[in-house]
C-alpha cells in the first residue's frame, strides 16, 4: 500500500514536473520567437558581415577571390603606413583616454561641491555635445588654421606662426578637440556615480578621522570602479571616432602624426582594396577585445568588494 501510494505520489510529482517543464519549454519557445527578429538583425548586420570580412581577409582580391590564407595579414603588418597608423592611434588613445577619464572625474568632483553657478558650468561643459561635428570642425579651422586666430594671438606676443595641422603640434590640437568634446559626457556619468555612493559609509569614514584623500582613494574610487571602466571603454571607443573630425579638417591624407587607423582603412576601401582592409579590421578588433578584456579584469579585481 505504501509502495503504491509512494508510486502514485511519484507519478503526481512527475506529472507536475512534466507540466512545469512543458510550460517552461513553452515560455522558452515563445521568448525565442519574440527575440528572433532582433537576433536575425544582429546576425544579418553584425555576425554575417564579420564572417564575410574574415573571408575577404583571406583572398587576394574581391574579383578573382584566390585563397591566400594569412598573406594579407603579413602584408598589412609589414606596411609602413599601417604601422604609422597603429602608432598614432595608440599614442592618441593612451594620451587622450586617461586625460579624458581623469579630467572629467576631477571636474565631477569639483562640480559636486556646492559652488555658485554650478549648473551654468555644467551646461558649459555639456554644450560641445550638442554642436554638430561640421560646426566643431569649422570652429577648429578658424582657430588653428595657419592664418587662424591662435596664430594671430601668438603674433601679438611676438611668436612666429605655427602650422598647427601640418606639424608635430597636430596631435596636441586633436587631443584638445577630443577632450573638449567628450569631457562633458564623462563628467555627467561621474557625477551620477558620485551621487550614488552610500552616504553612511562616507559619514563613517569621516567619523573615523579619514582624510578627504583617504576617503577618495579607499572608498569613492572603489565605488566608482565600474563607472571608471565604463567611461574608459566609452572614451576608448570615442577616441577611434576622432577620425571623423580629423577627416573633415584634413581629408584623406593628413600630416603623418594624425594619420589614424581609420584613415588607412577608409583609403583602402576607396581603392577597392577590401582584402587588406579586412585584415586590418580583424587585427584591430583583436586588439580591442584584448584591451577591453584587461579592463574588465582590472575592474573585477578592484570592484569586487563593492556593494550592489
Amino acid at each position: 500500500m505504501e509502495k503504491r501510494l509512494f508510486k502514485r505520489e511519484k507519478e503526481k510529482i512527475r506529472k507536475r514536473q512534466g507540466r512545469k517543464s512543458k510550460s517552461v519549454r513553452k515560455v522558452q519557445v515563445s521568448s525565442g520567437l519574440y527575440i528572433a527578429p532582433s537576433f536575425l538583425g544582429v546576425l544579418t548586420f553584425f555576425l554575417l558581415p564579420f564572417l564575410v570580412i574574415i573571408f575577404y581577409s583571406m583572398v587576394d582580391n574581391p574579383i578573382s577571390m584566390n585563397f591566400v590564407f594569412l598573406d594579407n595579414f603579413k602584408s598589412v603588418t609589414q606596411n609602413a603606413a599601417f604601422r604609422t597608423a597603429v602608432r598614432n592611434t595608440a599614442t592618441f588613445s593612451f594620451l587622450a583616454v586617461p586625460l579624458a577619464v581623469v579630467l572629467s572625474l576631477l571636474l565631477a568632483i569639483v562640480l559636486e561641491a556646492k559652488l555658485p553657478f554650478r549648473s551654468q558650468f555644467r551646461t558649459f561643459f555639456l554644450s560641445p555635445m550638442m554642436v554638430p561635428v561640421a560646426s566643431i570642425v569649422l570652429i577648429w579651422q578658424v582657430l588653428f588654421h595657419y592664418n587662424g586666430a591662435v596664430n594671430d594671438i601668438l603674433a601679438v606676443f611676438g611668436q612666429g606662426k605655427i602650422d598647427w595641422m601640418k606639424s608635430q603640434f597636430s596631435t596636441v590640437v586633436i587631443v584638445i578637440l577630443f577632450l573638449w568634446k567628450n569631457l562633458g559626457y564623462n563628467m555627467i556619468l561621474f557625477m551620477a556615480a558620485l551621487a550614488s555612493i552610500p552616504k553612511d559609509i562616507l559619514e563613517v569614514a569621516k567619523l573615523e578621522s579619514a582624510t578627504p584623500l583617504q576617503t577618495f582613494f579607499f572608498i569613492k574610487l572603489r565605488y566608482l570602479s565600474s563607472t571608471i571602466l565604463f567611461v574608459t571603454i566609452m572614451s576608448l571607443i570615442n577616441s577611434f571616432k576622432i577620425f571623423r573630425e580629423i577627416y573633415l579638417l584634413t581629408t584623406d591624407y593628413p600630416y603623418d602624426t594624425i594619420y589614424m587607423l581609420q584613415h588607412y582603412m577608409n583609403n583602402k576601401f576607396k581603392n577597392l582594396d577590401y582584402q587588406t582592409l579586412s585584415a586590418a579590421a580583424i587585427l584591430m578588433s583583436l586588439v580591442m577585445i584584448v584591451l577591453i578584456g584587461i579592463l574588465f579584469l582590472v575592474e573585477n579585481h578592484f570592484g569586487k568588494d563593492v556593494e550592489g
Binding site: 520567437l33 527578429p37 603606413a81 601640418k166 591624407y253
Partner: protein
C-alpha cells in the same frame, strides 16, 4: 478570466505585434520588375518596345524636327526654291502614311523668309509663325519680324497678324501651342505671348530667372504647359509649368521633370513623354515624378536620330527619325510587348560612366546586324542628377558593380582608374582574342599604342584611335634636336624674361605640364620612396610661381601665331590628328621650328600619346566570346560617327598619309579634270585655318613632313602622368607658397610627408 491572465495575454499580443513589425521591416524590397537572367551583369527588362518601320518617300526634303503627326497624316514645312527666278515658296505639306505621298500642300509664304513654327488642328486648320527678311542691293540683311497666319485645310487665309511691333523685328518664335479652345500660345526666348483664336494679343508673360523656354505644348488635359531650366532655386533643374491663360501668368510649377527633348509630348498612361538620346521617360503631374519607360537601344534605335516623338490613340509611341549620315527619314511605331514573348537573344551589357554617341552608334549598328545577341548599355551617370556629387556617385556605383556580382560584360575605360582595376585582375587579357581574330591583325597595330593599353602584361583594351601631342619651338632658340630635360626647359624660359613659355599658361596648367612624364624624377614606386625635397623640385616650384594665377582671357586679343612670331610666347602645344596638322602648328612660328617635346627625365623625345576610347572585357563575364565579337565589330566597322585622333592601325595610318599626300584635282560633272589657262589640272584646295591676324592654307604633305610624322609615331611614349592623388597633394600644398604665405622649403616638406605616406599605404 482573471485580470492578471488577461494582462499577460495582452502583453504577449503586443510583444508579438512588435516582433512582427520588426521582422517585416527587415525584409528587403523587390527590384521593380527587372529580371536577372544568366550570367553576370545582365539586365533584361520586362517589356520591350518593338518597332515597325515606315519609310518616307522623298524623305530628304522632309524636316521631321518640326513635323506634326495627326492620325495617318504627317505635316511638315517645306521650302521650294526656283533657281530660275531665285524665288522661294514655303508650304506646309500633308503626307499620307497610308498612301506614301503628299496629299495636300498649303502655301504659307513666299519670298525671303522661313517658317519658325506651325501647328495643325484636327480639322486641318494650320497656324504658322514665319519670319521674313530683305536683302538690299548692297547685300545688307534686314529682318522684317514675325508674321502669324491662319489657314484652313484648303489653304485659304483665315487671318494674318504681324507681330513685329509686339516682339521686335529680330525676334524668333521657338514654340507654338494651341489649347482646347484653339487659343494660341507663342514662346520667344523668356517670353510667352497669349493670343485669341483670331490671333489677337490677350496678354504677355515674362519668365524670370530663365534663359529661355525650352518647350511649349498642350497636355492631354487640353491645358498648355511650358518647360524651362529654373535658375531661381539653388538646385536648379528643368521644371514644367502650367500656363494660366486667364490669369496671364504661370500657374503651378511641377518639379523633377527629366532632361530631354525640346518638345512636350502628351502621353496616354503618363501625362507627358520625354525623350533623351538614351531613353524615353513618362512624367506624371500628380506625383511630380518620372518613370523610365524604355531605352532606344533596346528597340535597336539610335536615340540621336529621333527628331520628334508622338503617341497614337492606341498607345503606340511614334518616333520620327532622321539618319544624319544617309539623310534618310523614317517613322517607327513602337508597340509595348512582353520581352518573354520575343525571340530570346544573349544579352551583353556594356558598363560606362557617361555613355557617348560613338558607343551608342556602334551598339545600334551591331544589334541590327546580329541575330543571336543584343547589346545594352548601362550608364552609371544619372543625367537628371544635378548635384555636385553626381560624377563621384557614378564612379562609386561603377566600382561597386565591378567588385560585386553585378559586373557588366564589357567595361568602358574612359574616366576610370584603369591601372587600379587592372591590378585587381578585373579585365580579361585581349591578346589571345586579337591573335586568333580573323578580322584584325595584331601586327597591324602600333606596338607603342598596344603597350599603352597593357598593364602588368595584360592587354586590357584596343583603342580605335589615339592622340599625339608634343611641344614645338623656334629652331633658332631650342635647337634642331628634339628632347630636353626639365632643367633645360626652365633655363630656356629664364633666358627669355618677359616672354610666356606657353600660351594660355597659368600656375595650375604649368605645374601639370611640367610634371607630365617626370614622375620618375621624384618618385620611385619600386623602392617605395619619393624625393620632393630635391633642388630640382625646388627649381620647378620657383619656376611655376613665376606664372600668373589665372590666364587673362579678357586681354587676349592677339592670336597665338602672332605671339609665337613676335616671341611673346616661346613654345606651342601641338596636337596631331593627321599629317597635315603638323604643317600649321609649325608654320605658326613664321620660321623653322623644332618639335622639341615635353621635358623628360633623360632628355629623350617627349612626344606623348594617349589612347582613345577603350573597351575591356570583364574577367568575370560569362560571354567573353560574344563580348569580343562586339569589340571586333567596333574596331573594324566603318563608323559614320566622327572619331577624334589618329587610327591605331598601321594600314589606316598609311591610307591617311596617302590621302594627305596625293593631290586631288578639280573635276567636271563627267569626272574629267578641269584645266587652268596653262593646260594644267587644277589641284583641289584643302582649306585652311585662320585667326583675325593670321591664316594658313593646307597643302598636300611633302616627304619631309611625312618623315617627321613617322618619327613622332615611332617615338611617342604612353602618357603616364603623375598619380592624380599625388598631383592633387602637390597642387594643394604648393598654393600657400604661390600665395606668399609659406616658404618653398616648408611646402616641400609638407608635400614630401603626404606623398611618402600615400606611397607607403599603396605599396
Amino acid at each position: 478570466m482573471k485580470a492578471s491572465v488577461k494582462k499577460g495575454i495582452c502583453k504577449r499580443l503586443l510583444a508579438g505585434a512588435m516582433a512582427a513589425v520588426t521582422a517585416f521591416s527587415l525584409s528587403a524590397c523587390g527590384d521593380g520588375g527587372k529580371q536577372d537572367k544568366e550570367g553576370v551583369g545582365q539586365e533584361v527588362r520586362e517589356f520591350t518596345y518593338v518597332p515597325e518601320y515606315i519609310s518616307l518617300e522623298d524623305s530628304e526634303n522632309i524636316r521631321l524636327y518640326s513635323a506634326k503627326l495627326l492620325g495617318d497624316s504627317l505635316y511638315y514645312d517645306n521650302t521650294e526654291y526656283d533657281e530660275s527666278t531665285s524665288y522661294s515658296t514655303r508650304y506646309i505639306n500633308q503626307y499620307s502614311l497610308t498612301e506614301g505621298k503628299v496629299v495636300n500642300s498649303v502655301k504659307v509664304g513666299e519670298g525671303e523668309g522661313y517658317t519658325n513654327e506651325f501647328q495643325v488642328t484636327s480639322d486641318g486648320s494650320i497656324y504658322v509663325a514665319s519670319s521674313s527678311y530683305t536683302i538690299d542691293a548692297d547685300g545688307n540683311y534686314t529682318e522684317n519680324g514675325v508674321m502669324l497666319s491662319a489657314y484652313d485645310s484648303q489653304g485659304n487665309v483665315l487671318w494674318e497678324q504681324s507681330l513685329a511691333d509686339l516682339m521686335g523685328e529680330n525676334s524668333y518664335i521657338n514654340g507654338m501651342a494651341l489649347d482646347g479652345e484653339k487659343r494660341l500660345y507663342l514662346a520667344a526666348d523668356q517670353n510667352l505671348y497669349l493670343l485669341s483664336a483670331e490671333g489677337e494679343l490677350q496678354g504677355e508673360v515674362s519668365l524670370e530667372n530663365v534663359d529661355w523656354i525650352s518647350s511649349i505644348g498642350a497636355g492631354k488635359d487640353g491645358k498648355v504647359y511650358v518647360s524651362y531650366f529654373d535658375r531661381s532655386t539653388e538646385e536648379g533643374g528643368t521644371v514644367l509649368a502650367e500656363v494660366d491663360y486667364n490669369g496671364k501668368k504661370l500657374g503651378q510649377v511641377y518639379r523633377n521633370y527629366p532632361n530631354g527633348n525640346d518638345k512636350l509630348v502628351p502621353g496616354t498612361d503618363h501625362d507627358f513623354l520625354v525623350k533623351s538620346s538614351d531613353a524615353v521617360y513618362g512624367y506624371d503631374l500628380a506625383t511630380q515624378s518620372y518613370e523610365e519607360l524604355f531605352y532606344w537601344l533596346d528597340s535597336d534605335i539610335n536615340g540621336y536620330f529621333v527628331d520628334n516623338m508622338s503617341v497614337t490613340e492606341d498607345g503606340r509611341i511614334v518616333a520620327l527619325m532622321n539618319d544624319w549620315n544617309t539623310n534618310k527619314s523614317e517613322i517607327a511605331y513602337l508597340t509595348k510587348t512582353k520581352t518573354a514573348d520575343l525571340p530570346q537573344k544573349k544579352q551583353i551589357v556594356i558598363g560606362t560612366l557617361t555613355g557617348g554617341q560613338e558607343l551608342l552608334f556602334a551598339a545600334v549598328d551591331f544589334n541590327k546586324q546580329s541575330t543571336d545577341c543584343h547589346i545594352t548599355i548601362k550608364s552609371y551617370m544619372d543625367v537628371n542628377d544635378w548635384s555636385e556629387t553626381s560624377y563621384q556617385d557614378a564612379i562609386t556605383a561603377m566600382n561597386n558593380a565591378i567588385t560585386s556580382g553585378n559586373c557588366p560584360d564589357i567595361i568602358a575605360l574612359n574616366s576610370i582608374s584603369v591601372e587600379q582595376l587592372a591590378n585587381k585582375g578585373v579585365f580579361e587579357d585581349l591578346t589571345p582574342f586579337l591573335e586568333q581574330s580573323s578580322k584584325l591583325e595584331k601586327d597591324d597595330y602600333l606596338e607603342n599604342v598596344l603597350a599603352a593599353c597593357t598593364y602588368s602584361g595584360v592587354l586590357v583594351g584596343i583603342p580605335k584611335t589615339f592622340s599625339l601631342s608634343t611641344l614645338a619651338g623656334k629652331t633658332s632658340e631650342v635647337g634642331e634636336e628634339p628632347g630636353w630635360t626639365l632643367k633645360e626647359m626652365i633655363a630656356f624660359a629664364n633666358e627669355h624674361p618677359g616672354s610666356a613659355l606657353l600660351d594660355y599658361a597659368d600656375k595650375s596648367s604649368m605645374l601639370s605640364a611640367c610634371l607630365s612624364l617626370l614622375q620618375d624624377s621624384f618618385i620611385d614606386w619600386n623602392a617605395g620612396t619619393c624625393d620632393f625635397t630635391s633642388e630640382e623640385f625646388k627649381e620647378l616650384l620657383e619656376f611655376v610661381a613665376s606664372f600668373p594665377d589665372e590666364f587673362d582671357w579678357q586681354n587676349n586679343e592677339i592670336s597665338t601665331p602672332t605671339k609665337l612670331q613676335t616671341g611673346a610666347v616661346l613654345l606651342n602645344s601641338v596636337s596631331v590628328d593627321r599629317v597635315r596638322d603638323l604643317q600649321m602648328e609649325l608654320a605658326m612660328f613664321g620660321e623653322e621650328a623644332t618639335l622639341i617635346g615635353y621635358p623628360t627625365v633623360d632628355g629623350s623625345n617627349g612626344c606623348v600619346m594617349q589612347p582613345g576610347s577603350l573597351y575591356a572585357i570583364s574577367a568575370k563575364s560569362q560571354n567573353k566570346e560574344v563580348a569580343w565579337s562586339f569589340i571586333e565589330y567596333y574596331l573594324t566597322a566603318e563608323s559614320n560617327m566622327f572619331s577624334w585622333g589618329l587610327p591605331s592601325r598601321k594600314s589606316e595610318i598609311e591610307k591617311q598619309i596617302e590621302e594627305d599626300s596625293t593631290p586631288q584635282y578639280v573635276t567636271d560633272m563627267d569626272g574629267n579634270p578641269v584645266l587652268d589657262e596653262d593646260g594644267n589640272p587644277i589641284v583641289q584646295g584643302l582649306g585652311g585655318m585662320g585667326w583675325d591676324d593670321w591664316e594658313y592654307e593646307y597643302h598636300y604633305a611633302t616627304e619631309e613632313e611625312i618623315a617627321l610624322f613617322r618619327m613622332l609615331l615611332e617615338n611617342a611614349k604612353p602618357l603616364v602622368t603623375m598619380d592624380e592623388t599625388i598631383l592633387g597633394f602637390i597642387t594643394e600644398d604648393a598654393q600657400p607658397y604661390f600665395q606668399g604665405q609659406k616658404s618653398v622649403d616648408k611646402v616641400m616638406d609638407e608635400i614630401q610627408n603626404r606623398v611618402q605616406l600615400y606611397m607607403n599605404e599603396n605599396r
